[in-house]
Amino acid sequence: MSIVVNLDVVLAKRKMKSKDLAEIIGITEANLSILKSGKAKAIRFSTLEAICKALKCQPSDILEYVED
């Protein structure tokens, strides 16, 4: 897919573990790893909102469009 999830980068910048993030936004670690690995087919606005709120960032920091 041409949408890349840069959650790893943002997490590293904030020095936050994915386990903590999963706990804050209230999803399972398994689902978060699906999101990070790019296997996810869609992301709910509520999840995106929670991630942005937890990491104090914009959706554009997490998601990136790369042309094939």
């Binding site: 999803i27 689902n31 978060l32 699906i34 999101l35 296997k39 996810a40 087919k41 869609a42 992301i43 709910r44 999840t47």
Partner: protein, 189 residues
């Protein structure tokens, strides 16, 4: 869905049907062996081919010229041995097919109970049920029984099983669609 009475009842009925099929297979085998050892108890047993089970059918009867009435021919103790073997194999086949049909259906019901309704296993199960009912309708569509002084053959199109075949293949497709939707939903974070 742990407290669903309907599902529990269905499972119970399926299990009863399964054991009934096993018992009827045992009974059939017993009868099959017994009729070859001693035919005398079957003197009075006559076949009645007049019943119409619905659907279009083509019945062919034939008899020796020396016999006047068909009811004298169609006696249980006058079946030819080859016919007996064919009948036994056919009936066994029908019982086996029905048994596996119920087994597959039980798999589906159990998966519904476990809230894993939309899995690929159920798609396969419905396809298998379709194929099994197709075999069943082939098995029941034709019979030929040769008696010592005549015989009968019947060719019919069993509409109800064929409709069920169609229905189960449609169900398989519906479940396939469901599996896709579930995957989509599972991968939405």
């Amino acid at each position: 869905m742990t407290k669903n009475v309907l599902l529990k009842m269905t499972i119970a009925i399926c299990n009863i049907l399964k054991s009934l099929l096993v018992f009827s297979f045992l009974g059939l085998t017993f009868l099959f062996i017994y009729i070859q050892i001693d035919k005398s108890p079957f003197d009075k047993g006559t076949f009645n081919f007049e019943t119409n089970s619905g659907g279009y059918s083509l019945i062919t009867k034939w008899k020796d010229k020396s016999v006047e009435d068909y009811s004298q021919i169609y006696k249980l103790n006058k079946i030819k041995t080859t016919s007996l073997y064919i009948m036994y194999l056919k009936m066994t086949g029908i019982l086996v097919v029905l048994f596996f049909c119920i087994k597959e259906f039980l798999k589906v019901i159990k998966s519904v109970k476990k809230v894993e309704t939309f899995g690929l296993g159920n798609v396969k199960s419905f396809r298998r049920i379709g194929v099994l009912i197709l075999i069943y309708s082939f098995l029941t569509s034709y019979y030929y029984i040769g008696f010592e002084q005549g015989g009968i053959s019947k060719l019919s199109i069993p509409f109800v099983p064929l409709f069920l075949v169609l229905l189960s293949f449609v169900m398989a497709e519906i479940f396939k669609e469901g599996v896709l939707l579930k995957q989509e939903n599972d991968l939405t974070i």
